[in-house]
């Protein structure tokens, strides 16, 4: 979908982007990451010609980007930056409609598309349609920014640190939402960040840059288990490599069948779940650190897991609540299985 071939940007003698070649396949979520000044943002902006490249070639959808007038190219590529990039004098609906208006869509189609996007980003029920950007919360403004980038249904979406200016809690929600939108729309996304956790969470491929050069371009798991060199290892953070790896894994990958009982009797397994008539776990028998093997612990909703939870979070809950197993629950609260401390250690990725 996007091909960078020997891409170079020179300012005088300095090469801020130096001979980068990589391919982003259709539907891929590619994160460009690296320390400040590594050229990640410059690389992104060369894709939609906000910055002209000095050498090399960029193909989008097989076409050399220099064959199109820059405005035409940019209307075909979604572009999202930090929320301050919203037009302060336009209402939310007008902001989202920016590119469709430039493309002269009929107004009925624009209105339809705006409503669709407001619904996609769960912005439809708060009367946001007619608000001005400064009347929005940081998270809302950021969603509008992404909705605007998606408005004309581009195949490619470029995002330049879009969540850089929001608080950690909101960022977490926005990341989850972007992952969902990516799954739902199958867009090809190129995303710039300097936050490794954000990259590992969102990316299907990570391009790690340093001093204008591409150091490693790989799936997140490969980056973690097979870093190309010490720079990669350092940048990922040696200390919590294991936790980063777990943050990429989901509970369902570690979930195994649980031992059930309907009464207080201890079954043969060291960890047994007492369930009610609807198969909902009520108590954990055994499996509590520092207690006897027969100890009964009432299940607390705060130490349960769901299949799509990250293993990092599951592990964190085990540690915090001092249990060696979490029940994995489905949407109705029924017991699907369990994840255990031993399982975290034993599972080979």
């Amino acid at each position: 979908m996007i091909e960078l071939q020997g891409l170079t940007k020179r300012y005088g003698e300095t090469r801020v982007v130096d001979d980068i070649s990589l391919t982003v396949e259709q539907g891929e979520f590619c994160v460009l990451i690296g320390p400040s000044g590594c050229g990640k943002s410059t690389t992104l902006k060369m894709i939609n010609r906000l910055i002209a490249h000095s050498e090399g070639k960029i193909l989008v959808g097989g076409e050399d980007i220099t064959t199109l007038p820059p405005e035409r190219l940019r209307r075909r590529i979604g572009y999202a930056i930090q929320s301050i990039g919203l037009f302060p004098h336009w209402r939310v609906a007008d902001n989202i409609a920016t590119v469709p208006k430039l493309l002269k869509w009929p107004s009925s189609r624009i209105a339809e598309r705006v409503d669709e996007l407001l619904a996609l980003f769960q912005l439809d029920d708060e009367g946001l349609h007619d608000k001005y950007p400064h009347q929005l919360s940081g998270g809302q403004a950021q969603r509008v920014g992404v909705a605007r980038a998606l408005a004309a249904d581009p195949d490619v979406l470029l995002m330049d640190e879009p969540f850089g200016a929001v608080d950690p809690l909101t960022r977490d929600t926005l990341q989850a939402e972007l992952a969902r939108v990516h799954r739902q729309t199958g867009k090809t996304i190129v995303f710039v960040t300097h936050d490794m956790d954000e990259a590992l969470r969102l990316a299907s491929r990570v391009a790690l840059l340093n001093a204008g050069q591409l150091v490693q371009y790989d799936r997140p798991a490969e980056l973690l288990v097979a870093p190309a060199n010490d720079f990669v290892r350092d940048f990922i953070g040696r200390a919590d490599l294991g936790l980063k790896l777990l943050s990429r894994r989901r509970v369902e990958e570690y979930c195994r069948p649980a031992q059930r009982t309907r009464n207080n009797a201890i079954a043969s397994a060291p960890i047994t779940w007492q369930v009610d008539a609807n198969d909902r776990p009520m108590a954990l028998l055994g499996g509590r650190l520092g207690e006897s093997e027969t100890a009964r612990t009432v299940v607390n909703p705060e130490w349960t897991a769901t299949p799509d939870m990250s293993m990092k979070e599951a592990l964190s809950r085990m540690v915090w609540f001092r249990v060696t197993a979490l029940p994995v629950l489905d949407g109705e609260g029924r017991l699907l299985g369990e994840v255990t401390m031993a399982g975290v250690m034993g599972h080979r990725p």
């Binding site: 939609n48 906000l50 405005e71 990039g85 430039l102 400064h134």
Partner: protein, 251 residues
């Protein structure tokens, strides 16, 4: 600004009505002026109707402001484009010189060239009104955040679209503030055009000063003053139209 917008509106309407009433019916106040100034004869300026004087005054201000604003905004736009950026200091200096020149001096220079009346006054007013427009156009365009401009470019707007849809609307409030200053200055300054024979509301004032007739001065001055205040209030409302939801009085 501290008062609620609605009370400003009432003030504008009330003063506007008073202005119109005085322009049309100043003559009705003749008994009042005769009572206040029993020694003056005549106590009411009657060589020309106040309606004619006001219209002539407005025409002068309108034409000079139109020229100041078009030239000033154009100059401001030019020096904020990539092609004209290096001319910015030059243009700012020229505009500043235009305002440091006293209008009376401009009249003295222009009259021998252009004769008496409307034209020299127009030249003086245009020069005098240029600076606030240029200054505020440059300042207003400067307040547009660079991220907003980058977003506009990144979303596929061309240079014209960015100017018309993004830069000018966002700068408009500050540009209008400059126009407001320029027009208000010109409403007052236009009166001195009467010293070189232009017909303005300054005519009764000059006549009164020359003939030692205080009622004439008051009659001219009160209309100029009211005109300036009403125009100022009207501009204040116009500026609010470009507040985009801020200040609570969006259009």
């Amino acid at each position: 600004m501290s008062r609620a917008p609605s009370s400003r509106r009432v003030l504008l309407i009330a003063l506007g009505a008073l202005l119109i009433a005085l322009v049309l019916g100043m003559e009705q106040l003749a008994p009042l002026f005769r009572a206040l100034f029993p020694d003056q004869d005549p106590a009411m300026y009657e060589r020309e109707s106040f309606l004619n004087l006001t219209l002539a005054h407005l025409a002068l201000v309108l034409v000079s402001s139109l020229i100041s604003v078009s030239v000033g905004v154009a100059a401001g736009l030019f020096v904020t484009r990539p092609a004209g950026r290096e001319f910015e200091p030059l243009v700012s200096t020229l505009a500043a010189i235009g305002q440091t020149f006293p209008p009376a001096a401009v009249l003295a220079i222009v009259v021998p060239v252009a004769g008496f009346g409307f034209v020299p006054t127009l030249v003086a007013l245009v020069l005098y009104g240029l600076l606030p427009v240029v200054q505020n156009t440059v300042a207003g365009l400067g307040t547009v955040p660079s991220q907003t401009l980058e977003a506009a470019r990144g979303n596929g707007m061309n240079a014209w679209q960015i100017l018309w849809r993004i830069e000018l609307p966002l700068a408009m409030r500050i540009i209008i503030a400059g126009v407001r200053v320029s027009v208000i200055i010109n409403i007052g300054t236009a009166t001195i055009g009467s010293t070189v024979g232009a017909k303005t509301l300054g005519t009764p004032i000059i006549a009164g000063l020359v003939g030692n007739n205080l009622p004439y001065v008051i009659q001219g001055a009160i209309l100029v003053g009211l005109l300036a205040i009403v125009t100022d209030l009207a501009f204040e409302r116009l500026e609010q139209r470009f507040s985009f939801g801020e200040g609570g009085n969006a259009s």
